[in-house]
Symmetry: C2
Subunit: 408 residues, 2 copies
Amino acid sequence: MGQFPINLEEAIEWLASFGGESDGGVTRTLYSQSWKEAQQALKGWLEEAGLLANYDSIGNLFGRLPAANPNAQTILIGSHVDTVKSGGKYDGAYGIISGILALIQLKQQFGPPAINLEVVSFCEEEGSRFPLALWGSGMMTGIYSFNDIRDIKDSEGISFETAMMAAGFGLSEFRVRNDIHTFIELHIEQGPTLEKVEKSIGIVKAIVGQKRFRITVNGESNHVGTTSMKWRRDALHGAVNMIHDLYKSVKEYDEDLVSSVGQLFVEPNVPNVIPNQVQFTVDARHPNESVLRSFCQQFTEMFENHAKKLDLELKVEMWHEVQPAQMDRKLNETIQRICTQNNFPSHWMNSGAGHDAQLFARICPTTILFVPSQGGISHSPLEYTSTQDLENGLGVLIQLLHQLAYNC
Amino acid sequence: MGQFPINLEEAIEWLASFGGESDGGVTRTLYSQSWKEAQQALKGWLEEAGLLANYDSIGNLFGRLPAANPNAQTILIGSHVDTVKSGGKYDGAYGIISGILALIQLKQQFGPPAINLEVVSFCEEEGSRFPLALWGSGMMTGIYSFNDIRDIKDSEGISFETAMMAAGFGLSEFRVRNDIHTFIELHIEQGPTLEKVEKSIGIVKAIVGQKRFRITVNGESNHVGTTSMKWRRDALHGAVNMIHDLYKSVKEYDEDLVSSVGQLFVEPNVPNVIPNQVQFTVDARHPNESVLRSFCQQFTEMFENHAKKLDLELKVEMWHEVQPAQMDRKLNETIQRICTQNNFPSHWMNSGAGHDAQLFARICPTTILFVPSQGGISHSPLEYTSTQDLENGLGVLIQLLHQLAYNC
């Protein structure tokens, strides 16, 4: 390949070479050397493609195909350039690359659009280096400000501000845009649904809301052999009763609800001592905030009952919360028509993971499209989507942008 | 106090000074310096009391009050001198001290018995330094041999044999005794039963059998947000269902059954990933082997059903097993009569912890008597039994030995 890629398959490998690792993984955390090189390389490609390339003051990179009318609003397309540690080649990258390729093709084929088309490579979404996610889209949508990064450090003690300035950003005031008319993100699914239902395009109805809790159960430790069952205050017995009934109650809700215990610690965690403390997390997600809230309230009451029955102390703390985001129905219906016309089997679904699109949904019509993830695997060097599936997604995006920006 | 203690209270503090720590804890692991000093000090006390003191070839210490008849058999009384790391003052020590004080008093008051009375300070019971418990009584009863310690090392890499020889033992062949007629052990309860039922002497019916298992549940890890509940192979969900039903099924048995999950590990143990592996231990104890076996078989089948239902892989490994040991009914009835005569409230119970007595039960009439443990606490610097309770236990022991060795 030359300096810049000429098709989707090449572009995925090209972008993955910035921060690429021997096992096929990619590490490109915010404001790192590999991150800088990736953004600079993307800027070069945008310029060579004849798009107006520029950064904003925090390092979001834009490539604009301007409308003839200088007062036109903007359809923004894109995703994030940062990765988790040892992530895959497709997460984020696919949304940027397909946006660039779409604009290149539309420019060549149809010239200037009636509304600005602009691709964005968001500086950060994952929250992998600093304990703050969705930085790029958060600033663009006016939901975050520089206040949100004060006192935030990475695991090596480097402050967010220092890292940002070392990369050449954060030096001027941030200007929130008021021309964004629509936001569209193309992304790998990162789950097994499309593969299981054998569809090639996922039309996202909503990005689910999330609530995450830390549950602490305190009892009393004693010798397992010498303490009769009736005199025990076994924290693990209590925790197990709670989690058992949590999974049981998930079934009573609709299939959009997911809830999980991913982390659990036992104290003192030795075979012949009754546990005096168990800490575990509960993660609950649903596209409807009131359903989610009622589920969480229900399991909290149920946990309290279990604690009382076994004479245990209970602490329930919510440490993370994200509101659900509804994707735009009209945009989705247009996507559905395009899929039907092209014979791309499509599937209406929710996104169980968070995305930049969830913040744009608060300020403008927004949607996100999924392509299948092999085995549902993501955030791993094993992340894979076939070239055919990637091309299908790009095809839908080009036709959607054509309808929105030329046939209007 | 002089060189040697003159009463129970003094003797407990005196013996605890060997390996004593600033917080009141005692560490006296097998063949260590503090262990050697304790055995040597006890030997001095036995000699000063006019008992025939000697070691066997592995470091069990004996003090004999001989019968006039040189062919008489022997009633052995005692417990172990070793402790766990940072253990209490009473565990083991009380059984040795009360044995010595009983023999001193019987000798002074009644002279030579009709049957040899011999106190033993077993070299090892806890298994705290080397991964082998009941070494002293195991050798005496012919259940262990030197073969059992080959290739065994402590956490610092010192072999069992090297440690034994450095302490001056293991140099000559071990001679199994064939004169033991009865074994009696006085011990703190190490559980809360006597305190809860407000009794001062525990008459032990049996030392429970133990089976310990390691259970491994394997599933598949996935993103908690993007994986529908119906496509999960959640190892923690499976483990929780198993443990929930384990505790439920314990209730269907008699109150002598105890079963516990003390240790549990989750992989990868992060809040937003479905666990792909859970490992946990099951400890089950009951005085009747066939009841215990049937319980373990039942939960194993139940675990298999749960694993099958959730498409999980299951491995069940038993890594520790101890047969139940029945204490001698006639000895216990004699103890009951002595308690009644002395107005000591007594309680028939099982021992949920292991003791030297469990091995002697295989070769001769054996019993173990308990005195209360405050708060059920043991293996801790907080271990405590009131002087009154210790004196009551000693009183019963003296009267029991009087009946067995003088009134026969």
